[in-house]
Amino acid sequence: MSDRSAPVVLSVDGVSISFPGGAPEAGRPVVDRVSFELRRGRVLALVGESGSGKSVTAMSTLGLLPRNARVTGSIRLGNEELIGADPARLREIRGGRIGTIFQEPMSAFNPVLSIGAQIGEALRAHSKGLGRASVHAALVDLLASVGIDDARRVLRAFPHELSGGQLQRAMIAMAISGDPAVLIADEPTTALDVTVQAGILDLIRQLRDRSGLAVLLITHDMGVVADLADDVVVMRAGAVVERADVGTLFSRPTEEYTAALLAAVPRLDSLGTAGPGSDRVVIEDRAAEPPALATAASGHAAVTLTNVDVVYDRRGWRRTGTKAVDGVSLEIQAGRILGLVGESGSGKSTVGRAIAGLVPLAAGSIDVAGIDLGAASARALRTARARIGYVFQDPASSLNPRFTIEQSIGEPLRLHSSLDRAGQRTRVADLLDAVQLPADTAGRYQHELSGGQRQRVAIARAIALGPALLIADEPTSALDVSVQALVLDLLRELQGRLGFACLFISHDLAVVHELVDEVAVMHRGRIVESGAAALVLRSPADDYTRRLLAAAPVADPVDQRARREAWRALSLAPITSGVS
């Protein structure tokens, strides 16, 4: 990390961006007089919630805004003005002096071209006349420099054949292929699992230190900011709210908005374990306990899963099954919240779907409110389903766009209750009140609501029939942190009042930590660890859990440094969880 007086590489000065024509609020600038400076060897984080204008600002430095965008102000790369620059010159700069990494590596690569072809294309665009052999040699070197060992295989591979982490590394290799001075990283780890994210952040940090890159990091994740940034610019509604170095911003934010933003971020306790040695005791302690969740004091089980297997058939002429869930047993007591955590592909969502009867079981049994789903008749199954509420990740796609909110919330009532029309209407009004939405929401459509409001509607629908169990599958992942905090509050309040059991599925350990009573950690279809949330998340017994916890960045630069060290130590050791 270089000091604060390192030379300025890119300066953005009083930049405003507007999109004339079209929308009703046309002409209003989406970015309003934004200024900041990128310095050699430093990471500047541009932070803000959705719609704050951070991505638009970043794209303006590349001249990659839609044709109708009006950009004023000054963007200087070294001594060169970029606003209004010649298109050919801008092309030279893109991929040359300025490299870019995007959010979703799977869609940022062209699906029909090999990785080698795509990176090679970037190389050739900026150094003409390279021979085939020298391009190949350069590609192998590039991939090695971003931590890809089997470069030759990766170069031949197509995007769908690689993991998200490998793709993002390849994307970084492509971004640095032109030996840039500036690296723009637009939400570079948002689509990745935490353990993968930690590696990518580490790589960006290395590049900064090794080649003195100036990095513009665009993110909404305060944990990522704490982990990687040197300086922070907070944006809101197109304008800069606050700028500070990372230590100052997190310890003494001066603006109310920044403080509120930081307060809304769910917290993880600092890791209670100093090193692997101190865990031994815990592991032996737990060995005495039964593998399934210890039955909490009184309450009866709302849901019981016993040795559940779910196998997905692969369609095609050679059928091979994939075991998505492998021998899972768990139990949720009435009135308790169980957090099911794991990375993508761990099978956590499949468990939720299996409980709702949406996927068939290959083995084992599921008992919901006293009904064995496997043995139940079609009628009993319908009754069981009426006892389950389901909240999905993306409320925009889980609410029918042609239904009014009243129709959406009222649908389960129409199907399963004996209420007449007036009764349904009253019930919908009560439900809207319960999720703290104004009564006039009933007549509106989902596109008229914000993301947070939509998710409240989805929750109202899920609790319409007074469920015994609420399954919430990543209910806040698509929401901004400030909205997320409100939705979590609402869930907690409703659960306390209505007393349903809740299966809370999430990849976000901090969110889980804030909300749940018990937690179960899934890895490759199995539950590797489960128990009281406070215990599991503070002193994990399992290797994988420990790694997952260490990889989750926290919104505190000092604490995060300690976690990073812990993660580095752990990631050198092979994973042994699930083996025992």
């Binding site: 030279e92 870019t100 062209n110 029909v112 294309e121 665009a125 197509f158 292929s177 369609r315």
Partner: protein, 332 residues
């Protein structure tokens, strides 16, 4: 290894489909209340004569025996009747037209070049024109060029081929005297005449299908140009031309390939209306005649041949798909 297995699997599937089609067409053939023997029996058609003709054609046998003879004829050839009056139908035998006194195979062989000339030429024209104008339209979205192309495309999509064909004849042949109004000259006889006679049928078919392709390509291009990887391509400093062709068009054409294969396969089985309008003796024209004269052997043979072409086109599309879209192999 996997590819070989896939090909074998698909070929087996194709055979099953063709067998089913043969069975269905043969069933229709039998459900019709017409006795083909009656048509060839001559006048006066005494019961003895009819029985003789039926025996000669093999219609006296039970239906499964006849179907079996038909299938066996395809792989081993067959002989109708016996002795001096016997008619041999060489492998592959798709039946024998007793009205035209020739094998269905010979009919297909003699007529197919006409249809193939029309179909392949027209397909090439509409692919180039349709895709080209679709891309132009997408890249100039909302402009006069876009609106102009899409207006013409609407006309093409909604106009029936006989109308376009007749208008083309009226304008290019009768008014301008540029091109012949119909007929066919083999390529081997006179390449220039061949081209002259085919120009109008090509234009007619290309106008109609090209319109569909222009609309499809435009829609695909607009969608693809909004994808993340297009932004990536621009962010690495590629020229706009390269972004459009290599990253945009390459992906936009994937669904076009599917439709193109099936369209071409279908057209090769006979461009019925176009052949009639331009008085060209291709498969389609012959098929219409056969239906009129109840020459059922020809109908069955042609149907099977057309089905074979479509099944083959489907297979070719799947193979090409694997080449243009690497994700497909993973799903096999």
């Amino acid at each position: 290894m996997r590819t070989a297995g896939f090909v074998a699997y698909r070929i087996a599937g194709m055979l099953v489909v063709l067998l089913a089609i043969a069975a269905i067409t043969y069933a229709i053939f039998y459900l019709l209340p017409t006795n083909p023997a009656q048509l060839s029996c001559g006048k006066p058609c005494t019961p003895e004569n009819l029985a003789r003709v039926e025996r000669f054609m093999g219609y006296d046998l039970p239906w499964y025996q006849q179907f079996w003879d038909f299938l066996r004829g395809i792989v081993a050839g067959r002989t109708y009747g016996s002795g001096a009056g016997a008619v041999t139908c060489a492998t592959p035998c798709f039946g024998y037209s007793f009205q035209l006194n020739t094998t269905v195979t010979d009919l297909i062989v003699s007529r197919f070049p006409v249809t193939a000339s029309i179909a392949v030429g027209a397909a090439a024209v509409w692919l180039v024109v349709g895709v080209g104008s679709g891309v132009a339209s997408a890249l100039t979205r909302g402009s006069a060029i876009d609106r102009g192309i899409m207006t013409i495309a609407i006309a093409g999509v909604s106009a029936p081929s006989y109308l376009v064909g007749l208008l083309a004849i009226l304008f290019f042949s009768f008014t301008l005297h540029l091109l012949p109004s119909g007929g066919y000259v083999a390529f081997g006889d006179d390449p220039l005449q061949w081209l002259g006679h085919l120009a109008l049928p090509w234009f007619t078919l290309a106008f109609i299908s090209g319109a569909v392709y222009a609309r499809l390509t435009r829609g695909q291009m607009l969608e693809v140009m909004g994808e993340d990887y297009i932004r990536t391509a621009r962010a690495k400093g590629l020229t706009e031309r390269r972004v459009v062709v290599r990253h945009g068009l390459r992906n936009a054409l994937i669904p076009v390939v599917t439709i193109f294969g099936l369209d071409l396969g279908g057209l090769l089985g006979g461009a019925v209306i176009t052949e009639k309008v331009f008085s060209m003796q291709g498969l389609g024209a012959l098929l219409i005649d056969a239906v009129h004269t109840l020459d059922l052997q020809v109908v069955v043979g042609f149907t099977l041949f057309a089905a074979f072409l479509i099944v083959l086109a489907n297979f070719a599309v799947d193979l090409v798909y694997g080449l243009v879209d690497p994700r497909v192999k993973a799903r096999v």
